[in-house]
């Protein structure tokens, strides 16, 4: 089936099978491998991307269902060589251990700070509970979100 998507600002056409998952389109056809496949059933958040500005799990969205939409992945977050304040904060706070969950966490953090520029720790933990870090580096992740909020706000 023919579909059209805007991925990280670029309009692209694809011819896909009806059962193709958005995640596999992003990884296998666009070769944007920052978005990860984790559990495949909506528990881990590693495949989080933005679809029309909202954080969604790309392993649970059919590519045909995203037809006409705007998809933003981790690759579109930095502006050229310039890191996004959220990415910089994750690095500075040591919020990245093995790094597998990080793209998903950063996409969720981006959605959080857009909705709520000054979240409390409870609000951060609540919003990010759909993202799992199996290195269990949650303390530094929360710190990174707080630090990113200050950078963006201040």
């Amino acid at each position: 089936m023919k579909i059209e998507l805007t991925i990280n600002g670029k309009r692209r056409r694809f011819d896909v099978e009806a059962n193709k998952l958005l995640l596999n389109l992003i990884r296998d056809e666009m070769h944007l491998t920052g978005t990860k496949y984790g559990c495949g059933i909506g528990e881990c958040g590693a495949c989080t991307v933005h679809l029309n500005g909202e954080a969604v799990l790309s392993c649970m969205v059919l590519a045909v269902d995203a037809d006409g939409g705007c998809v933003d992945t981790i690759e579109g977050v930095a502006d050229g060589g310039q890191l996004d304040p959220i990415q910089a904060a994750y690095l500075e706070e040591g919020a990245v251990q093995c790094g597998f969950c990080t793209p998903g966490f950063i996409m969720s953090t981006k959605a959080l700070l857009r909705e709520n520029p000054e979240p409390t720790e409870d609000e951060i933990r609540e919003y990010l509970k759909g993202n799992r870090c199996r290195c269990t580096g949650y303390v530094n992740i929360v710190k990174a979100v707080q630090s990113a909020a200050k950078k963006i706000g201040g």
């Binding site: 998952l21 909506g42 969604v56 392993c59 509970k129 759909g130």
Partner: protein, 298 residues
């Protein structure tokens, strides 16, 4: 829990995809393909079900192209909620926060933000999981559901909609279009309580309560229990035990015992044994009613 029992990286089956732009078109497709068709709304249940081969539809009908089904609006009978209203939209809707805080409270307990950005209330109740978190409050709020098919539109009480585990009252070719939730009386208080394995897990037990007070005594009272029987239920005896009484600990405990007595053990209950559900449902019923009493205007 059966994570990665099969390869969840891909969709293991092929199907024909349909994206009707109107209700009539959707119903025609449903009629034509019958049991071979599945409706796709948010996909947060259907996609993992297909991945794990729990269902193998030959036709997938995406109804998201029917915009009128996503509306949340005030109507004569209360609040009209379209089947495609996403849980996140319910959670963030000022109208829902003002008029139906019970639904907002329940919606917030479902999955994660990413799930709620896609999951719809219609999908939540049509999957008819006994633990569906939106079903229990809808029962406590006396909602009505609207369905549509070749024979036209029908409306009936939510209690009649659930026939059992995974079964809802929809004739072949019929689909859910939305629901109407009557506004609780002025001054009513409500509360939703839930226990799962983790904070974003599905419910092992959930309870919803709506009460009003008159002169310090409980007047109107509705208590619903989820995840403990083939479908969510209202517990009339628990409600009777509260009516006209002062909400003391003894009264709450006596009423909650009726809730706990409704637990219908299933042969294979993976998530929790019957005794756990009995004790937990009693505790949650007491918590829900006492929080609803606190929230009620005196």
């Amino acid at each position: 829990m059966h994570i990665n029992r099969v390869n969840t990286h891909i969709m293991p089956i092929r199907f024909e995809y349909h994206a009707p732009a109107s209700l009539d078109e959707a119903v025609e497709l449903l009629e034509r393909y019958g049991k071979e068709a599945k409706i796709l709304a948010g996909g947060t249940d259907l996609i993992p079900q297909i991945k794990q081969r729990q269902t193998e539809p030959r036709h997938v009908i995406n109804i998201k192209g029917i915009p009128e089904l996503a509306r949340i609006k005030e109507t004569d009978g209360g609040i009209g909620i379209g089947a495609l209203a996403r849980l996140r939209a319910i959670e963030l809707s000022p109208l829902m926060n003002e008029k139906l805080p019970l639904m907002v409270e329940a919606a917030k307990t479902v999955g994660s933000v990413q799930i709620r950005n896609r999951a719809t209330i219609g999908g939540n109740i049509c999957n008819a999981s006994p633990s569906a978190d939106m079903a229990t409050p809808l029962m406590a709020l006396d909602a009505e559901v609207h369905v549509y098919g070749k024979g036209g539109a029908r409306t009936y009480p939510i209690g009649e909609f659930f026939l059992g585990r995974g079964e809802v009252k929809l004739d072949p070719g019929e689909m859910l279009t939305g629901m109407t939730v009557p506004l609780p009386p002025e001054g009513a208080g409500s509360a939703f309580e839930k226990v799962g394995w983790t904070t974003f897990d599905i419910a092992t037990v959930n309870v919803a309560a709506v009460v009003t007070l008159k002169g310090g005594r409980i007047d109107l009272c509705r208590v619903a229990l989820g995840a403990c029987s083939p479908a969510p239920i209202r517990v009339a005896q628990a409600e009777e035990a509260l009516k006209g009484k002062k909400p003391t600990d003894e009264v709450l405990s006596e009423s909650a015992a009726y809730v706990s007595a409704c637990v219908e053990p299933r042969e294979r209950w993976r998530r929790a044994p019957p005794e756990y559900r009995r004790r937990t449902s009693k505790a949650l019923a007491m918590d829900a009613v006492s929080r609803a009493v606190e929230a009620a205007g005196r």
